[in-house]
């Protein structure tokens, strides 16, 4: 599989040829400005919600109050601009439904990202009066090495896969974990992922083997690979990248970071698109001359 090559630079080029070979650092500078300047302004834009983004919201909305939900945090700080706003908004929606949350991670950085998202959600004034307690309403079981094997093993025995939580308590001593043996004891599963192991593995070894219902939040890079699972119903909903986060915040009705960053996204996308158009004009102009 191949695409024709860009002609290699030669001496004595005219304007169009030089434009076609533009120094990439000029593009870099434009991108930097396109992202930085909009951050100083509040740009209000209507966010169009995609069907799979709405499905994500509705899947949680349709859970019976008090459902037990397993959340897996499979990402690290670099992906947090995309996934952290989703995680925070998801926690809030789940907590308003009084769900019981169990967090695990297949990436070592996951537990800390989960703690940070939970802290943001719990700071929300609407949960002040509920007095949500660790171990009772939510728990963080920490990270476990083993990738897809960990997912597979929880089909039969979750407590021995995560013998202790993030703080070092025995998992089975937590009230929320009473009677939990495997995926069947959870009403719902949510996965935030930015690579391997991630949604692909969760679908393969959890959803398809246990029949659990799952939704996922992905980085926009990862999402195309998982769209087939949405279409086939193996995933009940999918949030793709910052746009996904913004969509979700829009449906929930609580605009947060995802929405506020979309201004910078718009401008930077326009810049990329203009460069693509420019590149094509230069390409055709220099080709016609030959």
């Amino acid at each position: 599989m191949s695409l024709p090559e860009t002609p290699t630079p030669r001496t004595g080029q005219d304007f169009w040829e030089r434009l076609a070979q533009l120094d990439r650092r000029i593009i870099f500078a434009f991108i930097f400005l396109a992202l930085a300047i909009p951050l100083f302004f509040t740009i209000r834009q209507p966010i169009a919600v995609s069907p799979e983004g709405r499905a994500y919201f509705e899947a949680i909305e349709n859970l019976p109050a008090g459902s037990k939900v397993l959340l897996s945090f499979d990402f690290d700080p670099p992906s947090s601009p995309e996934l952290q706003p989703m995680a925070e908004a998801t926690f809030k929606q789940l907590l308003t439904k009084n769900c019981k949350l169990v967090v695990i991670a297949l990436w070592p950085q996951g537990p800390q990202q989960a703690e940070k998202a939970l802290a943001v959600a719990l700071r929300d004034p609407q949960f002040k009066d509920l007095k949500l307690e660790y171990g009772e309403n939510y728990a963080n079981l920490g990270f476990m090495a083993g990738d897809e094997v960990v997912i597979q093993k929880m089909n039969s025995d979750l407590p021995s896969t995560f013998p202790s939580d993030y703080k070092g308590n025995a998992t089975l001593s937590l009230p929320i974990m009473q009677g939990v043996k495997n995926y069947k004891n959870f009403d719902f599963i949510i996965n935030f992922s930015s690579g391997f192991p991630g949604t692909r593995e969760w679908v393969q070894f959890c959803v398809d083997r246990s029949g659990s219902k799952m939704i996922a939040g992905n980085t926009a890079v990862q999402a195309p690979e998982n769209y087939p699972y949405v279409r086939s119903g193996q995933l009940k909903g999918l949030l793709a990248g910052m746009k996904g986060a913004a969509e979700y915040e829009t449906v929930v009705g609580k605009p947060g970071k995802g929405v506020s960053f979309m201004g910078a996204q718009s401008v930077s996308h326009l810049v990329v698109i203009l460069f693509v158009i420019l590149g094509n004009i230069a390409y055709f102009a220099s080709r016609r001359k030959k």
């Binding site: 599989m1 009066d129 069947k184 890079v221």
Partner: protein, 393 residues
């Protein structure tokens, strides 16, 4: 605070329950049965019942069901779990294999009101030797495995198997040749995953072939690694290739080296090396992640011939746009067979094609049935059964 909330809930429940409780009494669930949970390792029994008449009417007083269990029909019964209203099934996961269990189900109402069913059962938990829900998957595995093994066998008995041209692989020779002309080196990166990823194995197989060419052309080959295990395998494979090419003395172990496991540490190191040494050809084969674009962009800027191959769908677009040739997904696995012409590899490739014939037939036939059904010319049940045959639980 917590108690306040509880009080609130209690109040809410009271508000909902009182009118209902005054109006009528709660009815118990009916037809309680028990049976062994199928297709499992034992220790589980299913308790089934029919909805309480109150539940069917949508009576707000029904909160849910509570399931009780005993080893004798007379009791004593102990609570084993609860189910939501509208549910008609509870899986008891803590049964002993081979013991008779009896079940009772209560409809639960607010304020501790309940209505208890007749006793159902007995049933025993048993382990099964075959998961019958998976017979179709078993059949599929059987077909695929047989096809692959058959063609491996056939190829090993000397039968010629045809493999189509794979664009990009034809270019491997040219790339190595060009590096020789320019007097510059070749870089081969076998992905960023460990030996347990099959893509890495495919990459290492391909490396053997590239190394043999490099040895024949007397061109320097460098292999930077992210995993020490992969580095060892690469060394073995390259050493063997140089030996086969009759130039064992040209093999330099230090050209196959480990950098760091860290994604961007590795990316930055390889990037810097490419900018300094300007290799004439770069191969990216195996599992790549975000670093794919950095590599491909840098390689492109120094004008190297780039041949990529990966089965990471997320990274394919970047390789396709920035490299000269890209092996897409399965082509990566086919590449080593194509280049080496080794029977076991050719055979399994042919087996994979048999799999594809099955897949194409299954989808076409299914689409035809579904279309006929939509036009009303064919039985809906048959079509539904056909579609369901591909479901594995």
């Amino acid at each position: 605070m917590k108690s306040k909330f509880a009080l609130f809930l209690f109040g809410l429940a009271l508000f909902a329950a009182v009118p209902a409780a005054v109006g009528q009494t709660l009815l118990p669930p009916t037809a309680v049965r028990a049976k062994d949970a199928p297709n499992d390792a034992g220790k589980s029994i299913l308790a089934l019942w029919q909805l309480s008449a109150s539940d069917i009417k949508g009576d707000k007083a029904v909160i849910g069901y509570q399931i009780f269990r005993s080893v004798s029909a007379q009791g004593p019964f102990e609570a084993v779990g609860t189910a939501a209203k509208g549910d008609t099934l509870f899986t008891d996961h803590v049964a002993k294999n081979g013991t008779d269990y009896y079940y009772k189900v209560r409809t639960l109402g607010a304020l501790g009101v309940f209505a208890e069913s007749e006793t159902g059962g007995p049933a025993q938990a048993k382990a099964q030797w075959f998961n019958s829900d998976r017979s179709n998957a078993f059949l599929a595995v059987l077909i695929l495995v047989t096809a692959i093994l058959y063609f491996i066998y056939k190829a090993s008995t000397g039968k010629e198997l045809y493999i189509r041209k794979i664009a990009g692989l034809e270019e491997v020779d040219n790339a190595v040749g060009r590096a020789t002309e320019m007097g510059k080196k070749i870089i081969f990166i076998p992905g960023r995953q460990d030996m347990d990823n099959v893509q890495t194995i495919a990459a290492v197989l391909l490396l053997g072939r590239v190394a043999k060419l490099a040895a024949e052309y007397e061109t320097r080959l460098e292999v930077p690694n992210v995993r020490s295990m992969v580095m060892v395998s690469c060394r073995e494979v390259v050493k063997e290739a140089f030996l086969k090419a009759g130039r064992p003395e040209a093999y330099r172990e230090d050209d196959i080296y480990y950098i760091t496991e860290d994604q961007f540490g590795f990316a930055a190191a390889v990037d810097g090396m490419m900018l300094r040494d300007k290799p004439a050809a770069v191969f990216y084969q195996g599992a790549f992640f975000a670093e794919a674009l950095i590599f491909a962009e840098t390689g492109n800027s120094i004008g190297a011939i780039q041949i990529a191959g990966t089965a990471q769908p997320a990274q394919l677009p970047f390789f396709v746009v920035a490299c000269d040739y890209t092996l897409i997904g399965e082509e990566l696995f086919a590449a080593s067979a194509y280049l080496s012409k080794e029977p076991r590899l050719l055979g399994s490739l042919k087996g994979q094609d048999v799999g594809k014939v099955f897949i194409l037939t299954a989808i076409s036939l299914g689409a035809a049935l579904a279309t006929l059904k939509a036009m009303g010319w064919f039985s809906g049940e048959w079509t539904a059964a056909y579609i369901k045959a591909f479901l594995v639980r």
